[in-house]
């Protein structure tokens, strides 16, 4: 009886603490969204208004009409497409490591995992020099190549594909299908759960890409939304409403996608077995 009462009290305290923390966690987003619909003169009012008094879309119109956000958006979407292609390459490599025995397999796989240890600051300068040597600076290819494949993605695909029964592959081989067709028509459909998670992560990663576009792009025609927004912050430092509109435009698609797919993303970690 007593312990039951205690437990109820504890549930309430946990709920209240989490609610207060949760409010603090979403507060920056709420403030960002509300401010993006205010006028520039309203965002610097003291005391600040909570709800926009002169509700306006002017800031968003400004982003596209007076700034180059349409170009940034196009570049960002191109990078997202490349990220999906990179995911396909990761899946191929994961399949190679999961379902074949070949000379040097363990050594090469260890090397792949070792690349996870390398901080990006160490490779930043040499990769720039290498891309410069390949005449790829200030090109879209130069922006996407360095981050196209990743050891962690390869690792996760390998882990998943090892669990696919060999019999399925053998059966398609007997039917005379080529290895590549087996991969595309049998392995990929079976790997849907991991593909779904990786696709979401690839989208988020591509949408958020910042460092390589920042380093490689010399002019605005190759800027992504992130780089464009950081430029906006340094050029229009005082225009907070405009900045908040830019930030909202970047953050909202991700929040919406995340809320739709949160089950897949969160469950992925829960089931990938970090115990």
């Amino acid at each position: 009886m007593n312990s039951n009462k205690k437990d109820k009290l504890f549930q309430w305290i946990a709920g209240i603490v989490l609610t207060l923390g949760g409010i603090m966690f979403v507060l920056p987003f709420i403030w960002m969204i509300l401010s993006s619909f205010k006028t520039e003169s309203e965002v610097i009012l003291i005391p600040p208004t909570l709800w926009p008094q002169g509700f306006t879309f002017e800031n968003y119109k400004n982003l596209f009409e007076n700034m180059n956000f349409a170009v940034y958006l196009k570049n960002t979407l191109i990078i997202v497409l490349f990220a999906f292609f990179g995911m396909f390459l990761n899946a191929m490599a994961g399949f190679g490591f999961a379902k074949y025995n070949f000379k040097g397999k363990d050594g090469i796989f260890f090397m792949v995992l070792a690349t996870m240890m390398i901080p990006s600051q160490v490779t930043m300068i040499p990769v720039y020099l290498i891309l410069n040597k390949m005449n790829l600076t200030n090109t879209m290819l130069g922006i996407v190549l360095p981050g196209l494949v990743g050891a962690f993605g390869i690792f996760l695909f390998r882990q998943f594909m090892t669990t696919i029964p060999d019999e399925i592959i053998e059966a398609t081989r007997l039917d005379g299908a080529s290895e590549f067709r087996t991969f595309v028509q049998i392995i990929l459909p079976v790997s849907k759960p991991i593909l779904a998670v990786q696709a979401i992560l690839a989208f988020i990663g591509g949408w958020n890409s910042f460092l390589w576009p920042l380093i490689m792009a010399n002019d605005e025609k190759l800027y992504t939304l992130s780089v464009g927004l950081s430029l906006l912050k340094s050029q229009y430092g005082g225009n907070f409403a405009l900045q908040m509109a830019g930030a909202t435009f970047m953050v909202m698609p991700i929040i919406i996608i995340f809320i739709i797919f949160q089950k897949n993303i969160i469950e992925n970690y829960t089931t990938s077995g970090l115990k």
């Binding site: 549930q11 160490v122 490779t123 992130s226 930030a247 991700i254 969160i266 970090l274």
Partner: protein, 295 residues
């Protein structure tokens, strides 16, 4: 023979990824090591004949550069304050969410995870506005509670803490999920046995939960520490490393010297110092972890 024959197949499957990883992850290590012993700059980039070996001069210079030393100090500050904060906060949130019995607690997972998927640049822009000394929400709230305003980004030490708070806000989500996953892996029977012996919730947490979470805590502290050692976007967007280099991180120092001042050789030497630090930290943590799990 169509397409991939089965003997060549595995090599063809892994080739694209392996080539890219070699060119953009492994080869760069050697290139970085090489150029850290040269005076590579824009002239050297245009024509390699302008390149000359300078021995360990870059390393000597970078280790006596007051800005670099300050960046190292700041980076240590980020690690020493930031890592425990991230672990305590995300573990605390994970425990509370995990102990909750109502469905409502699942909503909290999403709420606390949200900041970690959003864009660093956008988030930094928003927080810079919240931190603004004149028009920011934070100082307004403080003043309306009759507290004095805080110089969030204008005083070197406070600015470091402000950046840590923002990064903490972004870091909690992912680590919380890792902890929740680990918590759900603890067999329920352990708690039932403890309950029979009359252990209360707090005793159960300290005697069962925390020891069982050792690996998760280790994993989170390693990844968080490596993350803080590479702290870059937040100071880059919000403070540009200022005030008075007070928020300059090692990563930002390397970026500035490499891409804004084009001292590639010098920056590469700095990046190698950082690399050695990352390896050392990982090894020490690993040793500590091994020792702890001996018994």
């Amino acid at each position: 023979m169509k397409g991939f024959t089965s003997r060549k197949a595995p090599y063809l499957f892994i080739a694209p990824a392996i080539i890219l990883l070699t060119v953009f992850s492994l080869l760069p290590i050697f290139v970085a090591l090489f150029i850290s012993f040269t005076d590579m700059d824009l002239a050297g980039l245009a024509d390699y004949s302008n390149l000359s070996f300078v021995g360990i001069k870059n390393y000597i210079n970078v280790l006596s550069d007051p800005v670099f030393l300050k960046a190292i100090f700041n980076t240590l500050f980020y690690v020493i304050i930031g890592v425990p904060l991230v672990i305590l906060t995300s573990l605390g949130v994970a425990l509370l969410i995990n102990l909750g019995k109502s469905k409502l607690f699942k909503v909290f997972r999403v709420v606390f995870y949200l900041p970690s998927v959003t864009n660093v640049v956008a988030v930094a822009v928003v927080w810079a506005y919240l931190y603004n000394p004149a028009f920011g929400l934070f100082n307004y709230i403080l003043e309306s509670m009759n507290l004095s305003a805080i110089p969030w980004l204008t005083e070197p030490t406070v600015a470091k803490i402000s950046l840590i708070l923002m990064a903490l806000w972004r870091a909690v989500g992912l680590n919380m999920i890792i902890f929740i996953a680990a918590l759900q892996g603890i067999p329920r029977s352990y708690y039932e046995a403890a309950e029979l012996d009359g252990a209360n919730t707090w005793q159960q947490i300290t005697a069962i939960t925390l020891p069982m979470l050792r690996f998760a805590i280790f994993f989170v502290s390693i990844t968080t520490m490596i993350g803080w050692l590479q702290f870059f976007e937040e100071p880059f967007i919000m403070t540009k490393g200022g005030p008075l280099d007070g928020t300059m991180s090692a990563a930002l120092f390397i970026y500035k010297n490499g891409f804004q001042l084009s001292n590639f050789g010098y920056a590469a030497a700095g990046s190698f110092v950082l690399f050695i630090a990352v390896i050392a930290v990982t090894l020490v943590q690993y040793k500590v972890q091994n020792k702890e799990s001996d018994y």
